[in-house]
Structure formats: structure tokens, C-alpha cells
Symmetry: C2
Subunit: 213 residues, 2 copies
């Protein structure tokens, strides 16, 4: 799991810090939508539940973004964070699995303006192939490696049953995918240069029940 | 965000450790399903991409679960982790939002045997109220506080648009909810005794694009 690396040797920035940057970016985007121009580590702290000192320390690893007394210019900090996270471009995403979760992802409007767009969706179920899901026609997984290679896509979202996830992951890696967001509730084995993040609601729920009486 | 607290003062176990326990539990459940009886920190390490030393250290905070040379008994460690995470019981969940994501959650089979079951689903859209989604009839959000209180539910999953999320969250807190898994792409303000975890695919994707060339 990426979240457990302490340091990413190629970059020198702790992965735990990298993991907080998208939260800063999202909060700043909300502020910009509210028409705001300036913010402070204190305000970000209140919105995010991360200490103001931590926020200042995290951001200082990348440069001098704020001025003492005046805080951060929202537009400037947004630009900088988009560059750091490389979402000052739009990344194409291949989605595998057109069941309930895959279909919800295909119709999700929340990728817009945040650096991503789904461009293809695949499934291996003959009953689903050819169906329209959101703006997409579900394609046959048999052609997935060739399609990804020809479109040079680097990022995949995986919404297949746990029993198929490793096999599909192997195909994605073969096709040149370097980042996988995995919704299947199982850990994937991938080469070291492929990044995997996991979305499993039960993992998040169990992390909270620990604290309940 | 829970993930950024360094220590949880009421328990003394770092939250980052608590966050890894559900991953250990999930891996052990897969091994048990495979009919396995013994495992080692080394094998868990390979499955999870967490160092064996870290796994041993994490588990040692809760007791003596393994023996040097023989490793961990899977059934025993499963029992212990379920107790620690309090999923040796089944928690009822209220689901708010019966759109694409909420419907996918309502139909999700992956909660079974992992400590949770969805028992109610609410929406405020008159066109959706009364519909059947999975095994549930969508109820009118107007009755949400009374229903939660009467069923004494402590955990909610929030799958409403970002613009409504804070308002719904306030109702959930009023009703006695102590843990919220939020799918809306916005940070929630909640009292200190309410836990929030976030599922926002873009946050995970942006964390990976940082590392892509």
C-alpha cells in the first residue's frame, strides 16, 4: 500500500505528505468556487482537521507559497498544487467492470475539473458487453490490452469481483498501466513501478468501529 | 481526517496503526477462505506491501499473537483482530442517498461477514422515495432523525451531492450517529466525538499521479 511507505526514494517527499496534498487541493477548489481569494493555514486546518503547523510544514517542502501575516493566495496555491500533483492536465482513465460500482463510476460527474476523465469501459460478461453505461458503450475485455496500448492510457480503475481482480490487474500491467485504483476488496500484486490505491468501504468502517464504545 | 491524527489520546494506539489493522484482517480472512491455518509476518508483508517488521510491531501493541519460528495461527489472530476492531458483532448502517453510488452500495455484497449490514436507505428526492433498491425501499429523508434514533444506529454512509452533505451530516449527528463514511467530495464539520472517513476516488488518483512521469 502506498500509504505505508515512509519515504518515496525517487522524490524525497514522505508519501504521507503527498497523501495530504489532494485534500489541500480539494479544499482550495471549494474556496475558489465560493469566490474567495486568500486563505490561511488556520482556515485550512479548520476545514480539514489537520493542524495548521502541519499544513505549513507540508507546503514548505515544495516552496514558499505563503507570506506571514497575509496567508496564501488561493489561485496561486491551486496552480502550484495542480502542478505538483500533475493534474494541470487531464488524465485518461480506463475503467474495468461495468457492474453496479463500475456503472456508478462511469456516470460520476466528480472527475471534471479535477484532472481525470474516464474514456473507456470494459467488462467480460457477454450480457453486459455492448450496453450503454453513462456516455460509454461497454467493450469486451478480450481487447483490453491492445486498446490501452493504442490509447497509451496510464491509469485504470478496477471494479471487478475480487476473484478476477489479480488476473485483470496482470493484463493492465502488461498493457502499460502505472496506476490502479482498485475497488475489489483484495490486495493486488504488481511490479514496483505500478502504484495501487484501494477503495474498500469496509476498511474505512472498521477503522472507525475501533473507536466506538 | 482521522488518518492524520498521530495519536488517539483515549486509546494510546497511533491511528496510523489502527488504519493498518483492517488490512491485516482482510488478508487473514482471504487466507482462512483458502483453508490456511498458519501464516507469518513475512507472508503478510508480501501480500500487503507493508514491511514484516512493521506488521510484527503493530500487532505486538495489542498482545503476543505469534510465536517465533511458528508464526501466527490465522483463526486466533482473526478472532483477536475482530475483537480489537469491534467487528465480532454486526453493526447496522444507515445509508443516505439512493443515486448511482448509494444504489451500488445498497446492492453491494461485500459487507457480509465483515461486521456490517445496511438496514435503511434514505433520499430526499420525491422521484426516488418509495423505489426499491436492492433489498430496500427508499425512505423519505424527512423521517431520518427519528428512524435512526429509534433503531439506535451509530454508523452512516453518506452518498449525497456535495452541496447537501453538511446539512445531512448535521442531521445524522443530531440523531446520534458517531461514525460517517462520506462519499461526497467535501470535508464535513462534525463534533470531536464523531468519526469521519472519506471515499473520494479523485483524492486517491491524485495521490498516484504525483508519482507518474
Amino acid at each position: 500500500m502506498d500509504e505505508n511507505k515512509v519515504l518515496n526514494p525517487g522524490h524525497g517527499i514522505p508519501d504521507i505528505v503527498v497523501g495530504r496534498l489532494p485534500h489541500y487541493l480539494r479544499a482550495l477548489q471549494h474556496m475558489a468556487l465560493e469566490g474567495r481569494r486568500l486563505t490561511s493555514s488556520q482556515e485550512l486546518s479548520e476545514r480539514l482537521g489537520i493542524s495548521a503547523a502541519q499544513i505549513r510544514k507540508d507546503l514548505s517542502l515544495f516552496g514558499e507559497f505563503g507570506k506571514q501575516g497575509t496567508g496564501y493566495q488561493i489561485d496561486f496555491l491551486l496552480d502550484q498544487l495542480r502542478q505538483i500533483l500533475k493534474v494541470n492536465q487531464v488524465w485518461d482513465i480506463v475503467l474495468v467492470g461495468a457492474g453496479d460500482i463500475g456503472s456508478a463510476i462511469a456516470r460520476y460527474q466528480g472527475f471534471e475539473n479535477r484532472g481525470f476523465r474516464v474514456t473507456m469501459i470494459f467488462d467480460s460478461n457477454p450480457a453486459i458487453i455492448g450496453n450503454q453505461v453513462g456516455a460509454f458503450i461497454v467493450q469486451d475485455s478480450a481487447g483490453i490490452v491492445a486498446s490501452i496500448q493504442s490509447a497509451q492510457i496510464r491509469i485504470a480503475m478496477l471494479a471487478v469481483p475480487a476473484a478476477n481482480a489479480q488476473e485483470v490487474s496482470d493484463q493492465l500491467v502488461e498493457a502499460g498501466i502505472k496506476a490502479i485504483l482498485n475497488y475489489a476488496p483484495i490486495s493486488l500484486n504488481v511490479p514496483e513501478d505500478v502504484h495501487v490505491q484501494y477503495i474498500d468501504p469496509v476498511i474505512h468502517l472498521q477503522r472507525m468501529t475501533y473507536y466506538l464504545d
